[in-house]
Symmetry: C2
Subunit: 579 residues, 2 copies
Amino acid sequence: MRLANVGETVTLSGWVQRTRKMGGMTFADLRDRYGITQLVFDESKDADLCERANKMGREWVIQITGEVGERESKNKNLPTGDVEIIVRELNVLNESITPPFTIEEQSDGGDDLRMKYRYLDLRRPNVRRNLELRHKFAFEVRRYLDEQGFMEIETPVLVNSTPEGARDFVVPSRMNLGQFYALPQSPQTLKQLLMVAGMDRYFQIVKCFRDEDLRADRQPEFTQIDCEMSFVEQEDILQVFEGLSRHLFKAILNIDIPALPRMTWADAMKYYGSDKPDTRFDMKFVELMDVLKGTGEFTVFNEAEYIGGICCEGQAAYTRKQLDQLTDFVRRPQIGAKGLVYARVGEDGTVKSSVDKFYTPEVLENLKQAMNAKPGDLILIISGPDTLKARKQLCELRLEMGSRMGLRPKDKFSCLWVIDFPMYEWSDEEQRLMAMHHPFTSPKPEDIALLDTDPASVRANAYDMVINGVEVGGGSIRIHDAKLQQKIFEILGFTPEQAQQKFGFLMNAFKYGAPPHGGLAYGLDRFVSLFAGLDSIRDCIAFPKNNSGRDVMLNAPGLIDQSQLDELHLQIDLPAEEA
Amino acid sequence: MRLANVGETVTLSGWVQRTRKMGGMTFADLRDRYGITQLVFDESKDADLCERANKMGREWVIQITGEVGERESKNKNLPTGDVEIIVRELNVLNESITPPFTIEEQSDGGDDLRMKYRYLDLRRPNVRRNLELRHKFAFEVRRYLDEQGFMEIETPVLVNSTPEGARDFVVPSRMNLGQFYALPQSPQTLKQLLMVAGMDRYFQIVKCFRDEDLRADRQPEFTQIDCEMSFVEQEDILQVFEGLSRHLFKAILNIDIPALPRMTWADAMKYYGSDKPDTRFDMKFVELMDVLKGTGEFTVFNEAEYIGGICCEGQAAYTRKQLDQLTDFVRRPQIGAKGLVYARVGEDGTVKSSVDKFYTPEVLENLKQAMNAKPGDLILIISGPDTLKARKQLCELRLEMGSRMGLRPKDKFSCLWVIDFPMYEWSDEEQRLMAMHHPFTSPKPEDIALLDTDPASVRANAYDMVINGVEVGGGSIRIHDAKLQQKIFEILGFTPEQAQQKFGFLMNAFKYGAPPHGGLAYGLDRFVSLFAGLDSIRDCIAFPKNNSGRDVMLNAPGLIDQSQLDELHLQIDLPAEEA
C-alpha cells in the first residue's frame, strides 16, 4: 500500500510485530511476507475494538479490515511507511505464546536458539529475503538454460556407492537385504550417461550429499546447478556459462559484469597463491628470489625456496603493534608461517625494513623497484622452504590486508575463469596421484603424451568460475573414449578389475557411441550466499544442519524402532563408550 | 532444416541411425536430439569419402559438413523429410559396437534389456520426447506458480522418521552413531512449518521416498509438486490449482479444459464406486435396491445389501460368449464379484435378462425405466452383501466396458475435483480408525461436534484432483490449532506422549501464531504420464527402478565395503537362507 491507496478499504492478514498505546489510540505493526503496515485502533470510535486490540500479544495472527489513511509521522524506513490502516474489524486467527527471541532483523536470539525455532527465525525479514533471493536465483537459472535449449532431467537419488571422492551416505535396502543404495555426491556419471543417451544439453538443480566432517561452510546436503553439453569444446562451455552468470547478475542484482578474464591455474598460484583468487583488489604477489636470496646475510631468505611479497598501498603508517598482530596472524597454526618481513617506504622514498641490518640500501632499493612500491606503501614478505605452502601463507596475508584495507566489499563483484588445472595432485595421505577434479576429466590433447612420462605435469581441460575468492562452479571436458578412460584409471591406481567393478557401467556405455562432452556444476548455496552478501551458506538454506550434521528443530537424526532395524536385518554395534 | 535452407552449408553432429548403398550413392540417416536428417555421400564426387561412409556402423558418432539439397523422394514422416545433406566432410567422433537392440520408436529390445542399457533406450525418439515433455511440464509449473507469488523453497532430504504413513527409507548417521535420518515421504510437516514461518505461498518440485513393496505404477523415489498457502480456505486453493492445471493443459497440450466440476466423495462412491472416477464417459451407477430387492424370487438380490447397474449404450448385441467373458472378469480374485446379471433391451423395447424367470415383465420394465435404457442397450448388474465392495466391483466393470466401447481415449481429458472426503477410514488390519488423508487434515467446521460422538462420519476439508480416473493431486486445509491437533491424534490412537514424541516439533510450532493454511501435492510422474499418454510412470523417468527397487543399469543397490559398515558401527544380520 502506498499513498495512492489512501481512502481504500483493505483486508490484511499477518502477525502482530508490536503494539503500543498512546492516549486514546492503540497502534500495532502488522507483519506479513511483504512488509510491515501500521494499524490504528481509535478508542473514541470503537472502544470495544480498541480493548480487544490492547489484548493482542507479539506474534498473534490477525486479520483486519479498515481504511487506508495517510500517516502524520511518516516512517521513511518502510515502503509502507507513508500510510496506516484505520481498523474497523479485527479477527484474531490465532494467539501466540511469547516467542523465545525477538522477530526482528537484529534478533536477540543466539544461533542455537534460532535454529531450534527456525520457523520463528524465518519470520525475520532479512532471513525471508535470503530465501526469496534463492527462489528468484533458481528460477532465473532455469529460465536462461531453458531458453538456451537445455532440458532439466531428474536423476535418481538412490544410486550406487562410488569409491573416489568423499564419503557416501548409504541407505540400506529392505527389498535387497544386505545391500545399500548411496545418495549421490553429484550426478556426475548419470549426466555423462545422459550425454551418451543423446540428451545434448542437460541441466538439473539437484540435491547432493557428502558425509564429511563439517567445516564452517559445508552442509551434508547441498544443492548443485549441474550442467552438461555434447559436441562442445571448452570454449563453448565457457561462453554458455559466462552468459548464464551475466544473466544472473543482471536479472537479480541489476549489475552488468564485464567479460570474464581467464587466468591459468599456474598464474593464479603464482600471483595469488590460490586457485580461487579474490580479484576484487590487485596486490599481486611479486617473487623476490632474485632480489633477496643470497644478496644479504639473512639466513631465512638465503635458505628459502620461495620469497614473495605484496605491496600494501599507503599502509606505511602501520605501527609496530599492528605489524606484530600480522606476524601473529601468519604464525597461527592454520596458516603456519614462521614469520613475516616488512618494509616501509617513507615519504622521502627511503626503505626501512625489519631486515635492514642484513641488506645494503641498494638491495632495499631493488626491493622497492621490484615491488613497484611508492612512498607511503608497506611491503610484506613471506618466505619458506616449500613454494606451495609459502604461497598459501602469503595468500592468507593478502586476503587479511585486503579486508583491513576495505578492499573486499560484499557488494562489489569480481568474476573470472581459472583454467588449465593440473590433472593430478599428489596425496601425502594416500601416497599416490589423485584426480584434482575427478577421474572423468580429459587431459589437454597436447599433454596426452606426458601421461606416460610425467603424469603430474599433465594439464586438464578443466575450469573453475571464481567470484570474490569463492569457487562458485567448476567443470571439465570429459573423456569420451573408453581406452583413454581406462588409462586414467590405471594412473589413479585402479586395477582393471576395480575400474570395471566401480565404473564398468560408464566404460561400457562409452563403447556405444559416446559423443564428445563436458560440463560444469555450480554450488547453488554458495552462489546465492555471494549474491546475498552472507557469511555462511546456512543463511540461505531454509532448514540447515549444524556442525554435527543435526537438524536441531526436527531433532534429526534420531533413534528408530527396533522393528525397522529388524526389517533391514541390521544391528547397531556401538563402541562401549557410546553404547 | 527445411526447404528454405536449400543451398546452405551446414555442420551437423549426431548418431548414425542406418546406412544404405544404392548404386554409386551411400545414404545415411543422422539422428540428433532434434530429429533425423538424410545424408548423401556421392561416390562419383568423392570416392574416398564415400568409402569411409560405407564403413560407418549403427550408432557411430559423426560430425559432417555439407550442403542442404532438396530430396527427390520426400519423406512426409519426418519434419526434415524434404531435404538432405550432400556431405563434403566427414569426421568420425566415436565408433560404436553393435547395440543390443534397435534404436527406433518400436524397438526389438525387451523391457529388461532396455533398462540395463537405459542410455541407449533413451536415444529412442519417443522416450526422449517423454523427457522433453517432463522438462516443459515442470518449467511451466514453476513459471505459473512464480507468477502467482509462490516461492520455491527447498526442504531437507535428510529428515526424521515419522510413524504414520508408509515405511521410511533410513540413513545411518556416522556423526551421530546409532541414529538414523529418514528420507521424506513428503515435505508435509516442513511445509506446514514454512507456513508458521510466514512464507505464505510455498511450492517445491521435490523428490519423495517410500519403501513400499512396489506395485506396477510405484517407484521408491518419485517427484511431487508440493504446494501450501496461508490465510486461505478450501475455495482459494481449488481456484489457484485449477488455474495451474488449466495453464498446463493450454501451454503444453494446447487444450482448453472447461471449469472443473466438483463431486463429493459420497457421490463419487455412489455413482462411480471410486474416489477417482473416470469421467471421460458417463455410464453412472443406478442403485436398483427398490426395483430388484424383494420384487422377485432371485435370492441373490433378495439377500443383497447393494444392487447396482450400469447401462451400456448400444451394446445389446453382446453375445453369450462376450457376457461370459465379462462374468469371468468380475469373478477374478482381484475383483471378487460372485457373478453378473445382464439385461438386453431389444429393438422393440422388451427386456430379456439372465434372471427373467425370477421377475415379472413389469419388474423388468421398471428396471429399464430406472436405468433409462433405450432399445439396443445392455444393462449390467452387480450385487453383494457389502455396499462398498459391490460398488468397487461395479466400478471395475464400468471401466472395462468403457475401454471395450472405446470411451477412454488417451487424448481426451476429463478433470474434476472430488471433495468432502471422510476424515477417517476403518483399518481392518490395525483395528482402528486411520487418517484417510493424513493426521494434519482439518475436519469440516460443521462436523467438529461429531468428533466426540461419531468420528467415522466426520468429513474433512480435503480434496483430490482427478483426471481420467487418475488421482493426480490431493490436499487439504490443515489444522492450525494445537488443541484440535491433539484431539485428532487421540482419535487416531496416539497417547499424548507418543504424539509429543513424534510430532512435538509441529505442535510446539503451532503455539507461536500458526496461520490458517492448506495446500496440496501433485504427483509429477503421474501427471506427466497422463499428458504423454503413457501406461506407466516409468516411461517419463530417466532412470527408473524395477519392481524390486533395483536400478539394473547402475546395479544399485549393491554391497558396500566392510570399512563403510565399520565406520557406521553396523552389522548385517541376514536370515540364514539369504546369507
